[in-house]
């Protein structure tokens, strides 16, 4: 008889338990805490793109705030000024973001290392300035208000409690998609490209175009998160898409651990919850936050994901040992 490996049993039961916990969690929390969890979900989605780029392609992208902004403004402008249906606006934001990413990424991704990182930072600054200057579209610092709530079959996701059940299934789906991508031939090609670029080229892997595609995907995912954000808060201004947001997204990837896709959730939770709780200590919280980035880069190269992974493998080996002793 074929026995199911112990790790698999552990994994399934842990996943089932986590899902039940996820489903009932908001019933035990106040509005503020649920709000944090909603933002965790939004940032998980945007952070996934950054994390995958960093972990699988070695691309440090600080430009995600720009794509997040494009998605948000597409949702805001499309629904309020143009009066278009919500799905159309979300899709338009994703497509527009992807187009920009393809156009910008093709030349910029020829860079590597710190040149590339600084180039994406420059892109984030350009995006922020353009959001500020295109007042007819973005409302500048005054922003755009009155963005409608997302409604599905007559059910309006109007409160944090309700939105929680919209944003998280999206986040879980994207985690699944990114995992599928990682384990596909394309994922193997990406890792091959990271290990030995010349040999990858000989194997017929089109290194440059593959990088651009992953960048475009990341931008699309960022825009999707931005649209959800706009519909959730219903008022957006240029302050939401500044450089600190770009850093925040990168921090999610770094803290979450670039080799671990679910680790992104942990990174996103830290980035949303930490400022909130630290702010009780007074205005010192941005400093602590920056120090966290420094400490994480130096001491936690695997991020929270790396920590979880090593804890998990310890748990799994213990589980295997105990099941062996039983048989």
């Amino acid at each position: 008889m074929r026995t199911i490996p112990a790790e698999r049993i552990w994994l399934w039961s842990a996943t089932a338990l986590a899902l039940v916990a996820w489903a009932v969690l908001p019933n035990f929390l106040g509005r503020g805490a649920i709000d944090i969890l909603v933002f965790t979900g939004l940032y998980t989605i945007a952070g996934l793109g950054v994390s995958f780029l960093l972990g699988q392609c070695g691309i440090v992208s600080l430009a995600q705030s720009g794509f997040y902004g494009i998605g948000a403004y597409a949702a805001a402008y499309g629904t309020t000024t143009l009066g278009l249906p919500i799905p159309v606006c979300i899709l338009a934001g994703i497509l527009f973001s992807a187009l920009i990413a393809a156009a910008v990424g093709t030349p910029v991704l020829r860079l590597s290392g710190h040149f590339l990182a600084l180039a994406t930072l420059a892109l984030a600054i350009i995006a922020h300035v353009l959001f500020l200057e295109f007042e007819w579209l973005t409302g500048g610092t005054l922003g755009i208000g009155g963005i409608p709530r997302i409604t599905l079959f007559g059910f309006s996701f109007s409160t944090p409690y309700r939105f929680y059940y919209l944003v998280w299934p999206c986040a879980f789906a994207l985690i699944l998609f990114y995992t599928l991508l990682l384990n596909s031939r394309t994922g193997i090609a990406l890792r091959a490209m990271r290990d030995a670029p010349s040999a990858a080229a000989v194997a017929g892997i089109q290194v440059a175009s593959l990088k651009v595609r992953i960048f475009v995907l990341s931008a699309a995912v960022g825009a999707f998160a931005g649209s959800l954000f706009a519909h959730y808060v219903s008022f957006i201004s240029v302050d939401s898409f500044a450089i600190d947001r770009a850093i925040g997204f990168l921090l999610i990837a770094v803290l979450g651990g670039v080799r671990s896709i679910p680790g992104t959730i942990a990174g996103a939770f830290f980035v949303t919850a930490a400022p909130n709780y630290l702010s009780r200590l007074g205005d010192i919280h941005p400093i602590l936050f920056a120090v966290a980035l420094v400490v994480a880069v130096i001491f936690l190269p695997g991020g929270f994901g790396g920590l979880i992974a090593s804890f998990w493998s310890r748990l799994a080996t213990r589980g295997r040992a105990s099941s062996k002793s039983r048989s």
Partner: protein, 295 residues
């Protein structure tokens, strides 16, 4: 466009250009001696400016003491950055990216600290020669700007002398170009890197105190300054002090032109686009040939 307006915008571009050049100079010094891009360079300048402000304005001590301590504070910051951020990262075999991320984190820490103690307001430092203006073809130029240009030029020549004529300067270069070879010659490589960051910090502090009378000191100014300084440095080939100043002036003039022809709002878009374009098209700088980045 009148001639006066043109001259005025050229003067503004030139002055800003030397500001970017001075930041770029610090980036070039650090990169030359360590192969690391210090994303804190603009924030080191911020520290220099803030210290000068505290000493010279808040405490009412002589402005000269403020300038001097501002520069020293910059040097000290550079030294500490190496000790507490670069060295631990190097020990864990950090990649190019992790060095950049660590210094980027440091930049945010500085910016957040200034925000905590100074708030969102901006401050301005009295310049050398106060607010006196000189007439250049009917356009006005501040005496301080002339001082800025003179001192920057002096620093460039000083650095050239330091790297070619002094033993320490040459040891610093050797330590970065060939760390193993330098070690066999008895050069303490990690000490040389500390000195490099200290020197870069001094230049950054100097940039800060010289810039503060011209542009407002504000907690957010560091990062944009760093990027523009980086653009200046890379235009000049990333390792050349002279090139950094030249690149800065070029960037400043292009920005000034953009302000006159497009609108002042798009100034940063123009300079950031220029930065990206240079990195792609001429990463070796305007004077360098390909593959000379290491030299």
């Amino acid at each position: 466009m009148t001639l006066t307006l043109l001259v005025q915008s050229i003067i503004a571009g030139l002055t800003n250009g030397f500001v970017y050049g001075l930041i770029g100079l610090g980036i070039a010094v650090v990169f030359r001696g360590s192969r690391i891009i210090n994303a804190m360079q603009g924030d080191v300048a911020l520290i220099g400016a803030v210290v000068a402000y505290i000493i010279g304005v808040s405490l009412g001590l002589p402005m000269f003491a403020g300038f001097l301590l501002g520069i020293v504070a910059g040097g000290l910051t550079g030294f500490l950055v190496d000790r507490f951020m670069i060295r631990p990262t190097a020990k864990r075999r950090g990649t190019e990216d992790s060095f950049l991320l660590v210094t980027l984190g440091g930049a945010f820490a500085v910016s957040a600290t200034v925000l905590l103690y100074f708030g969102r307001d901006s401050y301005i430092l009295p310049g050398v020669g106060g607010n006196t203006m000189v007439d250049v073809f009917d356009a006005a130029m501040r005496v301080h700007a002339i001082w800025l240009i003179a001192i920057s030029t002096f620093v460039v020549f000083g650095l050239r002398w330091f790297y070619t004529k002094t033993t320490v300067g040459q040891a610093m270069l050797a330590a970065s170009i060939d760390p193993e070879g330098a070690t066999t010659l008895g050069i303490n490589v990690s000490w040389m890197r500390a000195l490099t960051f200290g020197l870069g910090g001094l230049v950054g502090g100097l940039a800060g105190v010289l810039v503060a009378p011209l542009i407002n000191i504000q907690y957010e100014m560091g990062l944009l300054l760093t990027l523009k300084g980086f653009a200046a440095a890379i235009l000049g080939g990333l390792t050349s002090p002279f090139g950094a100043i030249f690149g800065g002036v070029l960037l400043g003039l292009v920005e000034a032109l953009a302000v006159v022809t497009i609108s002042s709002g798009y100034k940063d878009v123009v300079s950031m686009t220029l930065l990206i374009a240079i990195m792609i098209v001429r990463p070796q700088g305007l004077f360098g040939s390909r593959g000379r980045l290491g030299g």
